[in-house]
């Protein structure tokens, strides 16, 4: 199992062709997720020489509110509706933690570190099962306007709820596992990225889990459902659907829906999310396998 004893200084994540890494301690996965409709198979392009994304400078003008549902929404970064952002996942980002992971989904950049299992200082009572403590915080520079969009206090409890069903708490009684997530830049679907990154960090730390969990969110604007929304899309959405699931067990652990949804829309959103979650799960597994084989060398 890999642990966090990395001594090399941390350089900013670069895009590498990764199959044979000379650097045994860092792993970078660069995979495009294309056309995630229910019929398509995954076409992963590992090690593509093209960059993951070219951040487009979105115009500063305010977007008009689209009340006319016939108007087609074109996504600011040019993706199709069922297309997720390319994912960059990396484990071992924080050397002093038991496990850690760094994820970049488009402009959303999140780093999660896991400490534990370690002694519970707060708990006085004996408990057969371990405790989980989660905290999600935003940096002050995470959103374009200073201080705004950082009042997501409920994200910590939502992360806790997402993780508590999947971690085998009985494997670390009397101790606590701390999960700290820091959102470096908020580019949309923050909580989904935090949850996926947290499960990768937990796997990196060696905490026993029933399965990796992946989270994907879908936004509804008018009649269109778009997966993995960015901040502009989230700002004028008619509804949001965030699902956390265990891809291998095909079970949903957390589901949060806001806005107005008809049943066919919910069906479609659920299918999109399940498909995207299973593909993201495979990508996360590849990332962990690479890290394991790299550390074996």
């Amino acid at each position: 199992m890999f642990n966090g004893e990395f001594l090399l200084p941390r350089s900013p994540p670069r895009l590498l062709l990764f199959f044979r890494l000379s650097n045994p301690l860092r792993t970078q996965i660069l995979i495009f997720i294309k056309s995630l409709s229910a019929q398509n198979k995954m076409s992963a392009k590992p090690g593509a020489a093209t960059p993951t994304y070219s951040p487009k400078v979105v115009g500063r003008s305010r977007l008009p509110i689209f009340k006319d549902s016939d108007l087609d929404w074109s996504r600011p970064d040019g993706r199709g509706f069922p297309q997720c952002r390319p994912a960059l996942l990396q484990t071992g980002a924080v050397s002093s933690a038991s496990g850690s992971a760094y994820a970049e989904f488009g402009n959303t950049k999140v780093i999660v570190s896991v400490f534990g299992p370690r002694e519970s200082k707060k708990a006085m009572t004996y408990s057969d099962v371990g405790r989980l403590n989660c905290n999600v915080s935003y940096t002050t520079f995470a959103s374009p306007t200073l201080g705004q969009g950082t009042d997501h206090k409920e994200f910590s409890s939502m992360l806790h709820k997402a993780l508590e069903g999947v971690i085998m708490m009985e494997t670390f009684p009397k101790t606590t596992v701390d999960v700290f997530a820091l959102v470096l830049e908020s580019g949309g679907s923050d909580l989904s990225v935090v949850i996926s990154c947290a499960s990768l960090a937990l796997a990196d730390a060696g905490i026993m889990m029933y399965d990796l969990i992946t989270a994907v969110s879908v936004s509804c604007i008018g009649k269109n459902l778009m997966i993995d929304p960015v901040t502009e899309e989230e700002g004028c959405e008619d509804g949001s659907f965030m699902m956390t699931c265990m891809p291998s067990r095909y079970e949903v652990t957390q589901l949060t829906v806001t806005g107005e949804w008809t049943t066919p829309n919910i069906n479609e959103a659920m299918q999109l999310c399940l498909d995207a979650c299973s593909k993201l799960g495979e990508i996360m597994r590849d990332c962990l396998k690479q890290a394991a084989s790299a550390s074996d060398e």
Binding site: E260, W261, T263
Partner: protein, 287 residues
């Protein structure tokens, strides 16, 4: 809440499997709902709802405020829930904080809809007085007095009843002023506007115990649950909010099935609530 023994746990689970719960109800039957409005004269609107042993009070207060700079054409609504220690000793001090914030979040999600305002139970634009300058701030407070399971449904019903009871004073913008000054407003004492609550959704919590789902779980049934899904459905049959609680995973088909069951249950619940609320309002008018 005293823990259940193994025998009692089997009794609860077995009863649910056979469609006969410990109090004799079927799986999809609600306990008797009792609604009383106007319980807090100081507030703009208030209601008390009792579902079996669960007793909650909701109050709505409206105050003049400034719209936020991100959404200058809308009023603001804030939902706070307080779980009183009279309900459970564990709620005292900071014990009930987690539950309170979870309930408040779920209620806010159901009432306010998506970011663009679609599916909102409360039309925020109707709270506007002058764009960018003056608006109504609605503070919705829920107090849990007695807790016997199914808090979210009771709070949702209480908020719906309180909003029906809410009367917001009419405001006249008295003087036209320059753009950067606050306009003078005249709050009428005589004329009131009733709130339009036809689009406020009801919340139905489906609790999964074993392989079956029940509606309106008591506290002992909730202790045996594997997971619960709270679905908020509005009058038209659209889903206005969904929250899954409980750690264990659910198959996606189960969730879709729960949604259809919730829609079916909502029809009876919505009509029952409407009749109870109008009866309560009529009672209050007479007294």
């Amino acid at each position: 809440m005293v823990g259940l023994s193994i025998g009692e746990q089997h009794f609860v689970k077995g009863g649910i499997a056979q469609d006969l719960r410990t109090d004799g109800r079927k799986r999809l039957t609600y306990r008797p709902i009792y609604v009383e409005t106007g319980v807090i004269p100081q507030a703009n609107g208030s209601a008390r709802v009792k579902i079996g042993g669960t007793d909650v009070i909701a109050s709505v207060k409206a105050e003049i405020g400034r719209p936020s700079s991100l959404q200058p054409d809308k009023g603001k609504v804030a939902v706070f829930i307080d779980c009183s220690p009279t309900a459970e000793p564990t709620f005292g001090g900071r014990g009930g904080e987690e539950l309170s914030s979870e309930l408040a979040l779920a209620l806010q999600r159901c009432l306010l809809g998506g970011k663009s305002g679609a599916g909102a139970g409360i039309n925020l634009s109707s709270l506007l007085i002058k764009e960018g300058k003056v608006c109504w701030d609605l503070y919705i407070d829920g107090l849990v007095i007695s807790s016997d399971g199914n808090l979210l449904d009771a709070l949702g019903a209480a908020i719906k009843a309180a909003l029906t009871n809410t009367a917001i004073p009419k405001v006249n913008v008295s003087a036209e002023v320059a753009d950067d000054e606050q306009p003078e407003i005249d709050i009428s004492d005589e004329e009131y506007l009733q709130f339009d609550t036809s689009s406020v959704p009801v919340i139905v919590t489906l609790t999964k115990v074993g392989t079956h789902y029940i509606v309106d779980a008591t506290a002992e049934e909730e202790s045996q649950m594997s997971s619960a899904v709270s679905i908020s459905v509005n009058r038209v049959g659209h889903i206005c909010g969904l929250t899954k609680r409980g750690g264990s995973g659910l198959d996606p088909s189960v969730i879709l099935d729960m949604i259809s069951v919730a829609k079916h249950v909502t029809e009876t619940l919505m009509s029952k609530l409407d009749s109870e609320i109008s009866a309560a309002e009529a009672c209050e008018d007479e007294s």
